[in-house]
């Protein structure tokens, strides 16, 4: 390659870089020229709503021109905890970030600002703040509420003559599953259920929660517990066996996408254990079906059989170690998001959240799964979410993994109970 050509090539490459430098430069200029603006950096995890969230932030900035909101979302497949630690390590501490429950609050306590005085805190429903309250101080604000159970295909169940409202115990649940199984061919099913044993959060966190929430009254109790009793060990095992035995095989490589988008939305299975967040995925593949679904409880034998776990998946926290005005503006924004008319409209209609606060016209909640959750809540048939109180990493990396071994016949249920109990206790020493 002669030197003239290589110089030409280099020049061409440099020219192509100009737009990059331009963007960077423009940003610097903007920041330099407007340092009267208060800069609030938001570092959050929810990819699914980031576009709508950015729109909301833009509207806020128009009403409040002295504030500059900058949203950074952690990309999917990435670890929010790792990214957050790195972010703090780099010195670029965000003003608003996410915490999940008591462990996170304990870890990040020195950074979290108490939020008791805000209007939005008072409007929060009873119980949603439990996981982020310590010594009377509230350290987090819920994103939303979510719930899960067995999502069912209405048409299939009605064809099989099963009344979903009648499933109030494990025996009835089992009966329904067997009935569906006997009608597989007529309904065009590959199997009754799709059990994603690969997704350790579905098994180790959510499924276990359906059982353990009947043993720990709330997340703080779980967080403070030195051991786990497994009061309903049989019931737990039966739920795992039921789902696994009547599922499309192999379950060890079955993931969320296959479970929800391929099998359920493709009408090849009638029941899946998932939550209202799956609505978007289902609608994206089969919008027709998405209008005809609802929840059946994960009934526990010997325990509660007619309730679904409803709780808060993630909270907003404010970094109190930044400058006073940044902290004040951060609190103001969060407050505005959940209490102002604009904010509430976004929360309900754009983000499609189930609100964790009073003051919302919940008749506007449109998707059937969310409506079902509101219905269960109104009837008082809910269980709390306690898995945020499990020892760090225990739910997914100990219990979830052991469930996989159990499903593969590499571990007996007794061994699973013994091993996971041992790990819980040693983590809590």
């Amino acid at each position: 390659m002669n030197s003239k050509k290589s110089i030409a090539l280099l020049v061409a490459l440099i020219v192509m870089c100009i737009p990059a430098l331009w963007a960077g430069g423009a940003q610097e200029a903007e920041e330099a020229g407007t340092d009267e603006k208060v800069k609030v950096d938001i570092f959050q995890f929810k990819v699914e709503f980031k576009d709508q969230f950015t729109e909301l932030a833009n509207e806020y900035m128009q009403e409040n021109p002295n504030v500059d909101l900058s949203i950074k979302t952690v990309g999917g497949g990435d670890d929010y905890g790792a990214a957050l630690r790195s972010r703090f390590a780099s010195g670029e501490e965000p003003a608003i970030f996410n915490v999940g429950g008591p462990q996170d609050v304990a870890d990040w306590l020195q950074f979290l600002a108490p939020l008791n005085e805000l209007e939005v805190t008072e409007k929060a429903f009873d119980g949603v703040l439990g996981g982020v309250t310590m010594d009377g101080n509230v350290y987090g604000l819920p994103y939303n509420q979510e719930g899960y159970g067995l999502i069912y295909n209405k048409e299939m169940l009605s064809q099989a003559g099963i009344d979903p409202a009648g499933i109030t115990s494990f025996a009835k649940l089992e009966g329904a599953v067997k009935k569906l199984d006997s009608m597989k061919d007529e309904l065009g099913l590959e199997a009754v259920i799709a059990f994603p044993a690969k997704e350790t959060w579905v098994t180790g966190l959510h499924l276990s929660n359906a059982v353990l929430s009947q043993e720990f009254d709330n997340v703080n109790e779980a967080f403070n517990a030195d051991s786990v009793e497994y009061k309903y060990s049989r019931g737990f095992q039966k739920l795992v066996d039921l789902q696994n035995d009547y599922s499309v095989q192999p379950t060890l490589s079955l993931d969320y996408s296959q479970q929800v988008e391929q099998l359920f939305a493709g009408e090849k299975v009638a029941l899946i254990q998932q939550g209202n967040w799956a609505y978007g995925s289902i609608a994206g593949v089969n919008s027709d079906l998405a209008g005809k679904i609802g929840f059946i409880p994960l009934s526990v034998e010997g325990g509660v059989g007619d309730s679904i776990p409803v709780g808060v998946p993630m909270y907003w926290g404010v970094n109190k170690q930044l400058e006073e005005d940044v902290v004040a503006e951060a609190k103001k924004f969060l407050n505005w998001m959940y209490t102002s008319e604009t904010g509430k409209r976004y929360v309900l209609e754009e983000f499609k959240f189930i609100p964790a606060y009073e003051g919302y016209d919940v008749s506007k909640v449109s998707d059937p799964l969310a409506r079902d959750i509101l219905d269960f809540s109104a009837r008082g048939k809910t269980l709390p979410w306690v898995f945020m109180g499990y020892p760090t990493g225990w739910g997914q990396n100990v219990l979830g993994i052991d469930i996989q071994k159990y499903v593969a016949d590499k571990m007996s249920w007794e061994e699973l109970i013994a091993h996971t109990t041992e790990e819980w206790e040693s983590a809590r020493q």
Binding site: M1, L13, I14, M16, C17, I18, P19, A20, L21, A23, G24, Q27, F45, K46, V47, E48, K50, S70, K72, T73, G75, G76, G77, D78, A83, R85, S86, R87, A89, S90, G91, E92, E199, D255, Y256, S257, E261, Q262, A265, G266, G280, S281, G284, V285, N286
Partner: protein, 273 residues
């Protein structure tokens, strides 16, 4: 047909068969990038019914492709230019200087190839954060550091085959060290320089983890960073991700295909000397 010709033909057939096997995943990616999401699940193997160009349009927009492309380019080119320059210089000097210090330095660089990134991640970000050297320029500096081991290793190996007599002849002719390097040595290193450029480009262009930790400012995202928004907590927007992936690979393929010719030319020129 002579024995040799028959053999060549035989090789062509084998080559093309293996080529098809290698290409198969790309075929899957390509055909599915033109399907709508439901279609991808319904039949994976078949050719798409119609061509869903909207996937590409949407991917292009969501990726903020032009900006991301410019950023990726800036970082990749910047890092590579620095690495080529400094690693070739260091490689040559280390080979020509046969002292224990020189061997030690080389050994340190090479053994660093074995360090997994995850174990230096947090301390690195802390240090760079404290110096305030982050975002694109900091990233280039970090690639210089991380890429130094491999680049030096390759240059070092190659320089050993450049005869010392060349250096001596040039010095007798009155060259300074820098002139010697610039005019005589560096051009000879062309084949390995090209190899190094190709390998570095692939790595840096596609890198995700390091930029995700270092790039904090808006508008400075590279292509891989943007692509990750197609992969949510549990959902994967395959129809968009595959389209985006295809878009992202095209520049690199063009680059590699055209660089190919130069490898051949560079080596041939070297032989003629």
């Amino acid at each position: 047909m002579t024995g040799k010709k028959r053999f060549i033909l035989f090789l062509e057939v084998i080559g093309i068969t293996v080529g098809i096997v290698f290409f198969f995943p790309f075929y899957i990616m390509l055909i599915n990038s033109f399907k709508t999401k439901p279609q991808i699940f319904q039949n994976t193997l078949n050719l798409p019914g119609g061509l869903e160009w909207s996937n590409y349009a949407e991917a292009f927009e969501r990726l903020d492709f032009m900006q991301a492309f410019a950023n990726s380019l800036f970082i990749t080119v910047g890092s590579i230019v620095l690495l080529i320059l400094f690693a070739s210089m260091a490689g040559w000097k280390l080979v020509r200087t046969k002292t224990p210090l020189s061997s030690l330095i080389f050994f340190m660089f090479v053994s660093a190839i074995l360090i997994p990134f995850q174990s230096v991640m947090l301390p690195l970000i802390t240090i760079m954060g404290k110096i305030g050297f982050l975002n694109r320029l900091g990233l280039i500096f970090m690639y210089l550091g991380f890429g130094s081991s491999l680049s030096l290793f390759l240059y070092h190996g190659f320089v050993k085959s450049v005869p010392k007599e060349l250096d001596e002849a040039a010095i007798i002719d009155g060259c300074s060290e820098f002139q010697l390097f610039r005019k005589v040595i560096f051009p000879i290193l062309n084949p390995i320089t090209l190899t190094v450029i190709i390998l570095l480009t692939i790595w840096i262009w596609n890198d995700y983890l390091l930029p995700s930790l270092v790039i904090n400012k808006e508008g400075m995202q590279t292509i891989p960073l943007q692509m990750f928004f197609f992969f949510g907590e549990y959902t994967k927007q395959w129809h968009l991700a595959l389209a985006g992936l295809t878009l992202a690979i095209i520049p690199v393929i063009i680059f590699y295909f055209s660089a190919q010719k130069y490898i051949i030319r560079g080596v041939t020129q070297g032989a003629i000397k």
